[in-house]
């Protein structure tokens, strides 16, 4: 039987598409260590000029929010319309604002 301790760990891969952009999650690779994870990420996810920089993070190191708490975490933002610029009405003749 497969022994989970023997499998190369899973890493999450993030690619910066081009200078100035944030790294974006693109997928995962298995690798024995960080260096190998970078090599595997390069050989898997940047074969079509997709990126200029890579991050790899052990999947086990990612802490995710609990979907059961999504309502408590995210819905309170729904009525905070005053955080958005379109909430404010300014006459058209006022410029540069």
């Amino acid at each position: 039987m497969s022994d989970p301790k023997k499998e190369w760990p899973l890493w999450e891969v993030f690619v910066r598409g081009k200078g100035g952009l944030s790294h974006r999650h693109v997928g995962s690779v298995h690798a024995a260590d960080a260096k190998m994870a970078i090599e595997h990420a390069r050989d898997t996810y940047t074969r079509r000029l997709e990126g200029v920089s890579l991050w790899v993070v052990p999947s086990a190191q990612i802490t995710a929010s609990d979907p059961g708490e999504a309502a408590a975490l995210f819905e309170p933002a729904e009525d905070k319309v005053y955080r958005h610029p379109t909430f404010y009405s300014i006459p058209d003749h006022i410029k540069h604002i």
């Binding site: 039987m1 497969s2 022994d3 989970p4 023997k6 499998e7 190369w8 899973l10 693109v26 997928g27 995962s28 690779v29 298995h30 024995a32 260590d33 190998m36 898997t44 074969r47 079509r48 995710a64 609990d66 979907p67 059961g68």
Partner: protein, 329 residues
Amino acid sequence: MYTTDLSGKNKAEAVSEDAAKVAAFEARVANDEFIEPKDWMPEAYRKTLIRQISQHAHSEIVGMLPEGNWITRAPNLRRKAILLAKVQDEGGHGLYLYAAAETLGVSRDEMTEALLSGKAKYSTIFNYPTLTWADIGAIGWLVDGAAIMNQVPLQRTSYGPYARAMVRICKEESFHQRQGYEIMMHLAQGTPEQKRMAQDAIDRWWWPSLMMFGPPDDKSPNTEQSMRWRIKRETNDELRQKFVDITVPQAHAIGLSVPDPALKWNEARGAHDFGEVDWEEFYAVVRGEGPVAKERMQARQKAWDDGAWVREAARVHAEKRASAKIAAE
């Protein structure tokens, strides 16, 4: 395509689940929302997905073998590079799909063992041999063509990681079918020997390609539930019909004939009528009795066994370096 449910039946789940949770889940899916790994999901949904995604992944990996058979014999440098890049893509697609299945709590090693033990299935199409260079054209054109037809709707499948893998796969696969058709086009316009090769390839690959869509709808017991769960978006017969209608004119355009005497355009339906697939052959291949099924599994087993010491060495090395680093700190 590689997503045809080959298991035949869904074992009834004895697990009793919170009816309210199930209802909320069904409502989310019906509303075309994406389900993500940490979301609650019915156990049957999880199991069906693991089976479908891992079958799909296995198909990509086993699918490297028939085409890989011709990389070292590709007729020129351009074709060699294209074929190598394409087969490499398939490895990548297997990887993306295994990773999607891993988010459901199954490891890649477990899935690999299920494949090698014969417990897990893969697409029947890869149990047919590639005999001539034209088979590389036929696979790209017909097999990838059939695959794309099933994969495009799966970009909207309900399980987020699967849908995202499919988006990447569809994007990368867009050249695969075109390169296959281009090979066939060249052969069909080439010497008489080349033309013969091309016709022979379509003669051998046509029916197995139609089988890729899986059993007829009335013999596909999971279709209804899979459609409701948005892990299948069109029925086997609908996709098969679509494939025939698109592919037949492509064959005729390069002077190749389709090996089906019953094939004819039905004006009233606005679609082709076509002959019955040999379902007995299909089920035999599903059972593992395809012409080169043994060779395929032998090759996967050998790669797995021969690679064991390499995987082990890298793991041990990583552990050694990690503990040396801790000791030094």
